[in-house]
Symmetry: C2
Subunit: 372 residues, 2 copies
């Protein structure tokens, strides 16, 4: 087991912390954002491009890779790192959230979750044991426990059932783990009920897992409620382990998470928004489809050093989007992942300098200057 996490510095004005997560000799400075490579590829980009930004860890999905091409095939081909030519770290989501959000006819029992594939309708039973088997076959560096995710709003009874099941499953996941190397993270549930979040965190704590995630967010709840759940849940997780906020989020959400002590994030927004033509910049977001950019010779963000901003005009990117040229999706994705990388860098620097609140305020003003 080569997993380690150290807190290097605490922000004087908030619960934010600067840390270092080390796996297989690879150091991830935290707080960190993990680009999403659901199907063994960060959409439109090569692994080398992800590495060139400075990213050390990406997220992939057990659910998708289990269905296609199959975890056994990936294992036979040397594991996910080799399959996708990525020598950094991989965290795989367990599939709990994907079964909730994508699969059809989901049926939850204590044994596991029975569902129909969103691809071909075939039936599958995802158990804690299978979830670990899949992630170990993929060769993940960080394995997530299977969790029971509910939508918003969930009744107190539903939320209690889901969190108790999530804890039982976490124990089964821990027991099912055969490989020593990967770290195992638990997922705190409890919907929007502070006392249930506490119950979930405390019951999972007994398992002494390598890290803990705040799950069950970004399921349709208002933003304020999500931030309240950060506030409630993050302090319940051990100081000594990484705290991961799953599926979050917008730049402002990430800063709100960091301010409350979160270390890891993942989200499809920078890559998905890129493909929709929405680009993050230091002066707000830009929707490149807007006709005002038709003849705009300026780069998307003069402060950005990415391929898009160093070599192409807004007018060119708009032209690519108008013509549905794939290269436009790629340039926009490069840009947004560059933006997120530098945002996390700035967050880490601000923590070191005990001025994260000030960065958060400036950032909040900047990001409101949207053109939309």
């Amino acid at each position: 087991m080569s997993f380690a996490f150290e807190v290097l510095h605490r922000d004087a004005g908030s619960a934010a912390r600067l840390g270092r997560m080390t796996i297989r000799g690879i150091e991830v400075p935290t707080p960190a954002f993990m680009p999403v490579g659901t199907r063994g590829v960060v959409k439109t980009l090569s692994s080398q491009e992800i590495k060139d930004f400075g990213y050390k860890i990406i997220l992939s999905n057990a659910y998708h890779l289990y269905l296609r091409p199959g975890h056994k095939l990936v294992e036979q081909l040397g594991g996910l790192h080799r399959f996708m030519n990525w020598d950094g770290l991989i965290l795989t989501d367990s599939g709990g959230f994907q079964v909730f959000s994508l699969a059809r006819l989901r049926k939850l029992t204590d044994e596991g979750v029975l569902f129909q594939s969103h691809i071909d309708g075939s039936s599958h039973l995802f158990t804690p044991e299978l979830c670990i088997e899949v992630q170990e076959a993929l060769g993940s560096d960080i394995i997530m426990c299977l969790d029971d995710v509910r939508g918003y709003p969930a009744t107190r009874e539903e939320a209690l059932e889901a969190l108790l099941r999530t804890t039982r499953w976490a124990a089964l996941c821990l027991g099912a783990k055969k490989r020593v190397d990967p770290a195992l993270f638990g997922i705190v549930q409890g919907a929007m009920y502070p006392d249930l979040r506490r119950l979930s965190a405390e019951s999972l704590a007994d398992l002494n897992l390598d890290g803990y995630a705040v799950g069950g967010l970004s399921v349709g709840e208002p933003r304020e409620l999500m931030v309240e759940m950060f506030e409630v849940t993050l302090p319940l997780i051990f100081e000594a382990v990484p705290r991961y906020v799953m599926g979050v989020g917008k730049p402002q959400d990430i800063i709100d998470g960091v301010l409350r002590g979160a270390d890891l994030f993942d989200c499809v927004l920078p890559t998905r928004n890129a493909r929709n033509g929405t680009l993050y910049t230091s002066h707000g977001s830009v929707n490149i489809r807007n006709s005002r950019y038709r003849d705009d010779p300026r780069p998307i963000d003069p402060q950005c050093q990415c391929l898009l901003c160093s070599s192409y005009s807004r007018a060119y990117l708009r032209h690519l989007f108008q013509e549905r040229e794939i290269f436009g999706l790629r340039l926009a994705t490069l840009h947004n992942l560059s933006f997120y990388y530098h945002m996390m860098e700035n967050i880490r620097i601000a923590i070191t300098q005990n001025r994260l609140h000030s960065l958060a305020r400036d950032f909040s003003v900047q990001m409101e200057e949207t053109d939309d």
Copy 2:
């Protein structure tokens, strides 16, 4: 005017020639293949990637860029080279072929061609003068004369009308040319009638243009007829200028053109086929969608050094195609353009060594080993 073309060596066993075309100080070794960047982008790739292969010249299209985003806009933004961040050479097709193949309600008169845009149905009159204006505004290095293209089969009367009009238009294009720098190429028509090809070539020769193309091929004729037209038409073009076979072709077609004295080629096949999952290799073509590649750990072509072949398995590429991941289209495009670049390099070496016929034979055998 900084255009020059030299024949450096003639193959002892065929009409093939090794040459060097120089424009703006940029040297293009010929025979050369020009990747197609119809809308100011070689689909899925960056200009840097095209440059990294070694390509010195690409093709773009006056017709498409005139319609969107508009040649005046591109000019205002500094020209096509700057717009697409390409510092190599650009040859633009005049639009004659695109109006023939894409536009609706095409009406030909001596003045020009009236057509409706394939994008929005708007009406446009493309004249020889406008065709030059558009290409000069784009800042092309090689401008093609507007030509009258007919389908296959065309009657002798149609073919005669089209070639005479093409010659008149070429004279008008020459007269309309305002900029000194770009080279101007004429297009030999005459459909599949050898005597009309001769008439076309001879009447265009009087204009003393910088180069000549064989047009009106790849319009549905049998392959043998196309090769016969190479055989008939190419010797009719001056020895001292580049001979360009437009819209051709498959690897075997290109070798057949080179054997008969052609210097330049362009074709959408390597890029379009890539996006359909068909990859060219030294052992025939591979359709990566084929289920036999599901668990194939080998590179597409062990003899290829491209990003795809050096870093990814066939199984991974198939997975990307199965999942409709854009990165797969990009990897396949990189591979096919790498294949074409090295094929042209091998052709040039074979000419130097007076063994092009032998390369053509070997190649013909190799390319038949397809999996489809």
